[in-house]
Each structure stands twice: as structure tokens, then as C-alpha cells.
Symmetry: C2
Subunit: 176 residues, 2 copies
């Protein structure tokens, strides 16, 4: 396999959840690239039901941190991106499609962060009722807009090796 | 921005849904790479609730095609991968996490297919009750295993340009 191909595959295999950040601002152009990557994901019936709230304000980050598992990592993150879906826009107004579409967008965003030398971590919101309520309050989300996750972002303050995760027990040939 | 960086970003921005395939088998090593990429996705609490059924049998592909939107494209696909999640394994047995985890895995799989020169398309299953029922029957899925989507795969028979999808209306600064 060519080294160029290997390098491209490392976009996927080299991505890890980074929860420790170094100081340093992430500039707007980089954030815009991350959001464009997220929006390059496929969505059910091409509805693109996603929305993104970019949060740099330290007080707001601090308000979010208490409600999330691992939320304390927002204390050193340069920013967070809250990924939400609009149930009125999602295909057939189905929560399932909203979650699938937003999750594909989040994975693109995480991979793009990795390409650009940033560290990122997916902090779950949905389906935890108390987290959804808190995030909706903090960001004044409209009723039909559901927060799926918060992505913490910053320059990596920890280094992780790619890890092999192939589990043959999860693979079935032709039938279960 | 360096051309090497641009090439890596094209992993994300160059991926398109490919629904027309050229003849040609996809070998097992390539399929294994796709599955490894899928399993490199993050999952809630690291539960990795995903399962993958690799389908090359033409009769089975034909049985699947009738139940899926765009299912007819399986007629010329080299194979399909049915992506399922196990509700007994998913974090807190929550369907939301199962859908998020499987969708992140699917996006990795689609991007890996693109890197490897394959074309792929995400064919929705969940939450359509009749599609779930049919896929569970065809593949003898255990009760707790929920099919999320079928991914059609093959050598591309159509060529698509990357398309810009950045929508500023989906981006919010600090608050909605």
C-alpha cells in the first residue's frame, strides 16, 4: 500500500479523543473549516438538519462544564462547538435521522480537527434529560432544536498512539 | 495551506454518495480495512455496540433491495455492509447512543471507502419499522440487535465533484 494512501488512512486511524489541551487560540478560519467538514456529511434525504453553536466565552464554557461528563476539560479547551439538530428540518421529523445526521457531521468535525492538528473530544448530551435541559437554557435553543453533543477543541496537551480496535466478533459474513 | 493538508482534507470534502457502480469484486482485505475504520470511531463510554454483516450473496442483496429507498442500487453493488447496534451493549442500553455510535462508525466507513477508491452510499433502515423488520428477518438478527443502515459498496460507475455545502445560517456564535 502506498505511503500516500497510508497517510490518508491515518486521518481515520490516528484520531483519538483528546481531553488535555495546551494554551493557544484557534482562529476563525480553522473553526470555519471544521464546520464546513461537519456540513460535508451526508444526511437523510439531504435535509442537513444540523446547527452549530461556537462557544469561546469562558463563563459560558464554565456553565456548560458542570452538566457534562468530563465537562471539566472545557476549562482548558480553546472553544467548544455545540452540535444540535432541528427536528422540524430532519427527514420526516424523526429524531432517529436527526441523531444519525448530527453524528455523521460530528465524526467529520473530529476527523477534520485531527487533520488540522487540533485535539477534540465528543461530550455526550442527548439523551440525558438534565443535560439537554441545561444546554437548551444556556444557549436559548428553540423548542424543536435538540442538542446532541458538545465538542471540546484545542491544541493537544496529550499525545496518543493510534490504537487497533478491530474486533472480529463484530463481523458477520452473509448472516448473523 | 500545504498541498498535503489539502489532500487530507479532500478525504472529507471529496466524499460523495455514489449510487452507480462498475463491475469488479472488492477483495476481503479491503473490506477488513473498511470495518477497521468503522470500529475506529468513538462510542459513548467506549462500548463499541456496533456489528457489521458483510453481504455479497446476490440473492440476499436482491431480497434487501426491495425494502430500501434506492435499494435497486444494490443490483450492481459489489457488496453491502449492514450496520447494526446491540442495545444490550450500548451505553446505558440507550437507543440514542446506539444510533450515534453506529452513525460515527458509518461515516468512518464511508470516508475509508472514498480513500480506497470505492464508491459507497448510506441506505437508511432505522427508524422505518418495515425496513427494520425485513432486515432483522433476512439476517436472523437477535432481538436486541437493531439495524441502523445498509452501506452499498463497489467501484464507482459515476464521478462526482466535491460540492461546497457551507451554510452560514447553521452557525451561531456564543448563543442561538
Amino acid at each position: 500500500m502506498s505511503s500516500q494512501l497510508d497517510e490518508k488512512l491515518m486521518v481515520i486511524f490516528g484520531r483519538r479523543s483528546v481531553r488535555v489541551y495546551s494554551p493557544g487560540e484557534v482562529d476563525e478560519g480553522v473553526v470555519q473549516k471544521l464546520l464546513a467538514a461537519a456540513m460535508a456529511a451526508p444526511s437523510a434525504s439531504g435535509k442537513n438538519p444540523w446547527h452549530f453553536v461556537v462557544v469561546r466565552n469562558r463563563e459560558t464554557l464554565s456553565r456548560m462544564s458542570g452538566t457534562l461528563a468530563y465537562g471539566e476539560i472545557l476549562g482548558t479547551a480553546a472553544l467548544a462547538i455545540v452540535v444540535c439538530g432541528d427536528l422540524e428540518v430532519a427527514h420526516d421529523n424523526q429524531l432517529s435521522y436527526l441523531l444519525q445526521d448530527c453524528s455523521a457531521a460530528i465524526e467529520n468535525l473530529l476527523l477534520c480537527a485531527h487533520i488540522l492538528g487540533l485535539g477534540a473530544c465528543w461530550l455526550g448530551v442527548h439523551p440525558r434529560v438534565e443535560r439537554i435541559k441545561k444546554i437548551k437554557e444556556v444557549f436559548f435553543l428553540p423548542p424543536a432544536v435538540i442538542p446532541v453533543a458538545c465538542i471540546s477543541l484545542g491544541y493537544p496537551g496529550e499525545s496518543k498512539e493510534p490504537h487497533a480496535v478491530y474486533n472480529p466478533n463484530c463481523v458477520h459474513s452473509e448472516s448473523w
